[in-house]
């Protein structure tokens, strides 16, 4: 199964061809069946060791990777920056070399510096999965978003995807824009002016000032988690104002296409990005995204470790 994945690492969406994306999606969809068994465990990666290096806290992504590894019977080494030798002044490369010396077969790395996984991949001879780096990318999130939309919509051609929120600083947005476009969807983005990319056409997405314009006729509407402060300064005046002018609610979503999906990478600031009334919005697929996250990460472990073996 799926050894035709011509990549050693998963660092960003850019190098993946549409075929590569489909390979991951199809593999993940097959693996979902495993997840739904009464005893969801297969021996496929028995004896393999996956090291999780989280230099930035993220309970969800970390649990998702951990679950994926365990279903496939891989061993997991956990490393988190908090309280670690990093605080004693050890640099990233030293940390990685030490972890590598323990013999993992693959590294999953999340780091607050854009490009940190690239740096690690260059220095270490084993596959690396980027679990989110700085303001750069979060490719596994994009893949799970693709899987969720594919399952619900059947295809990507001609879909309009609207992404709302902090586009400029969101690695999720960056990966999603690239991934959806590669498979034939058009992507529109909107949010407060302070969170939009300075370029009119960022990564090929249409940038529009009004959220309503982005959502108009969209088949998929994705809200991003926002933070009030970036680089130590507020990008919008108040949570209240954000929710009022940039948050999604039933009124805004009524402009979307019939049967539109509502997505969010989590964790959600309810009442800010999403009005609480959207908890039972018919197209809301946020928990499906979580389940698909495990499947996509299983697929990637399988594809990268099998490729490394081959």
């Amino acid at each position: 199964m799926g050894v035709d994945f011509p990549h050693r690492h998963l660092l960003e969406i850019g190098p993946l061809s549409p075929e590569d994306l489909w390979t991951v999606l199809k593999t993940a969809r097959n693996l979902k069946e495993v997840l739904r068994r009464p005893i969801p465990k297969v021996p496929t990666l028995r004896g393999k060791v996956v090291a999780h290096l989280f230099f930035e806290p993220s309970t969800r992504t970390r649990l998702s990777f951990e679950r994926a590894a365990k279903v496939l019977s891989a061993e997991v080494l956990n490393f988190s920056a908090r309280g670690s030798s990093l605080e004693k002044g050890e640099n990233l490369l030293d940390t990685i070399k030490n972890v590598a010396a323990m013999g993992p077969d693959l590294l999953v790395i999340r780091h607050p510096a854009s490009g940190a996984p690239h740096f690690v991949a260059r220095k270490i001879g084993i596959p690396v999965i980027n679990a989110g780096d700085g303001f750069h990318e979060h490719p596994t999130q994009a893949l799970l978003d693709l899987l969720t939309v594919w399952e619900r919509k059947g295809d990507f051609q001609g879909l309009k995807v609207a992404i709302i929120g902090d586009i400029r600083h969101s690695r999720v947005a960056h990966s999603d824009i690239l991934a959806f476009r590669k498979l034939g969807a058009e992507v529109w983005v909107s949010g407060p002016g302070t969170m939009l990319p300075p370029e009119r056409e960022a990564l090929g997405a249409r940038v529009v000032r009004r959220v309503e314009e982005a959502v108009e006729g969209a088949d998929v509407v994705m809200a991003l988690r926002v933070q009030k402060e970036r680089h130590g300064r507020s990008l919008f005046p108040s949570w209240h104002e954000y929710s009022r002018f940039f948050g999604l609610n039933r009124r805004v979503l009524s402009r979307a296409a019939e049967g539109a999906l509502l997505m969010h990478p989590g964790p959600i600031n309810w009442g800010v990005e999403l009005a609480p009334e959207l908890e039972d919005f018919p197209g809301q697929v946020i928990l499906e995204q979580v389940e698909n996250g495990v499947a996509v990460r299983m697929a990637l472990l399988l594809l990268l470790l099998k490729a490394a073996e081959a």
Binding site: G193, T194, P198, R200, R209, R233, P237, H240, E241, F245
Partner: protein
């Protein structure tokens, strides 16, 4: 109620019209404009031979001092002065007490304006909370409450990063951003223009560069963000040069100047005349000439007054302790008409500078006499001689460097939605 204005020189830049004709107003709207309109029945007629009829003048930049400093001016006296000066609308700056950084203040201003019933009032809200230059004010809520533009005016945004965010965030709500262009580090402690006059008077100067570097910053931020910025009260030749180049580059930058900058020079502060103490300060003859040319050539888009009333408490004091600011609403028309008489501006350009351009910059209704538009109309007698005296001025404060000046030209009738808000007796 119908009103026919007959045989006026109609000046409407929005239609490129400069013709002698009639204007018919009905139920608050302009219904017809033509060389000759037969008077309908039950119609009041205003004979306007030798008078100019313009779309109502709009002042982009006034200080009404309410709330908080009502001893200087309030909405009623300020808008009465505005109507007497020929203005049908004024944009009021947010440096009140409290500053207009919340929808409550904006709504208060609008409800007071309705109560008073003089000119239209377009509230300009703060860029930053408390005008402190740290965090953005809630632009979305301010716009909903009725704010039409943003500015920290008297306390310019020093932090370039915040100014960038302000432009970007303002674009989300399509609100114009007005920059009081001043580098506070360069102007700190300054009293008058930096140069020989400052030296002679022993006062700390404000260099032209304090304005120019700030304008250059705004120009580059407009280029960086693609968001328009409007520069308030341009006073120097250096600033004009920067604006000229920005416009040649096609950047979304507009600018205003005030009549005192094209009328007076720094000489006006000699003998420590606090009535001429204003910020930015009155400059040199070279600057004055550059500003005049810029108005003629279109490098500067509009004339605003920066009407800044102060009571004797703030002005009849030693020079360094005196407040900056002078009255502008009632002297703007004759002072700008001087440029027409000197052949620098056409009458149509005059109307453009005081009405059509301000409406366009603020994105508010007005600036046109097209049939169907609200009947905001100003009739001016361009030659009427009068003398500026305290009694003539309707402002609560009398801080004008033009007291005692003989002027030519004056608004004789100001209509807002067809209603007479000022009529020279």
């Amino acid at each position: 109620m119908r009103l026919l204005i007959r045989k006026a020189r109609i000046l409407d830049p929005s239609q490129g019209l400069d013709l002698e004709g009639d204007l018919l107003i009905e139920e608050g709207r302009i219904v017809a404009l033509d060389r000759e309109i037969p008077p309908p029945s039950d119609c009041e007629i205003f004979e306007a031979q030798r008078l100019w009829a313009l779309p109502g003048l709009i002042d982009l930049h006034v200080h009404l001092r309410e709330p908080g400093e009502e001893w200087k001016e309030d909405l009623e006296t300020g808008t009465t002065a505005a109507a007497a000066g020929g203005f049908t609308a004024v944009a009021c700056m947010p440096n009140t007490r409290p500053p207009n950084d919340s929808p409550e203040v904006t709504r208060y201003l609008l409800s007071r304006a309705r109560e008073v019933g003089r000119t239209r009032v377009w509230p300009v809200a703060c860029i930053s909370k408390g005008q402190e230059g740290r965090e953005l004010a809630p632009f979305g809520e301010l716009k909903e409450a009725g704010a039409v533009a943003l500015s920290d005016d008297g306390r310019p945004v020093a932090d370039s990063g915040l100014m960038r965010l302000a432009l970007e965030y303002a674009a989300s709500f399509d609100l114009p951003v007005i920059s009081h262009a001043e580098d506070p580090g360069l102007s700190a402690g300054g009293q008058v223009n930096e140069g020989p006059v400052a030296a002679r008077l022993g006062l700390k100067g404000i260099p032209a560069e304090a304005e120019a570097v700030a304008i250059f910053r705004e120009v580059r931020l407009a280029a960086l963000t693609g968001v328009p910025v409007h520069i308030a009260h341009v006073s120097t030749a250096l600033s004009v040069e920067i604006l000229r180049r920005a416009k040649e580059e096609g950047l979304p930058v507009t600018a205003e100047t005030a009549p005192h900058y094209f009328t007076l020079t720094e000489e006006a502060v000699l003998e420590y005349n606090t009535q001429a103490k204003v910020n930015p300060p009155l400059r040199t003859e070279v600057d004055r000439e550059a500003v005049r040319q810029a108005l003629a050539e279109g490098v500067i888009d509009a004339v605003a007054t920066d009407h800044a009333p102060h009571s004797p408490l703030e002005k009849e004091v030693e020079f360094p302790a005196a407040a900056f600011g002078l009255l502008g609403l009632e002297t703007a028309v004759p002072l700008t008409l001087n440029l027409v008489r000197e052949g620098l501006l056409s009458p149509l350009r005059f109307a453009e500078l005081l009405s059509t351009a301000p409406a366009r910059i603020l994105k508010v209704p007005g600036g046109t006499l097209k049939p169907g538009s609200p009947a905001d109309v100003t009739l001016i007698d361009p030659d009427l001689p009068w003398v500026v005296t305290e009694e003539e001025l309707h402002s609560k404060s009398k801080n004008s460097p033009f007291l005692g000046w003989e002027m030519r030209g004056r608004a004789v009738l100001t209509l807002v939605e067809g209603e007479v808000r000022w009529r020279l007796r």
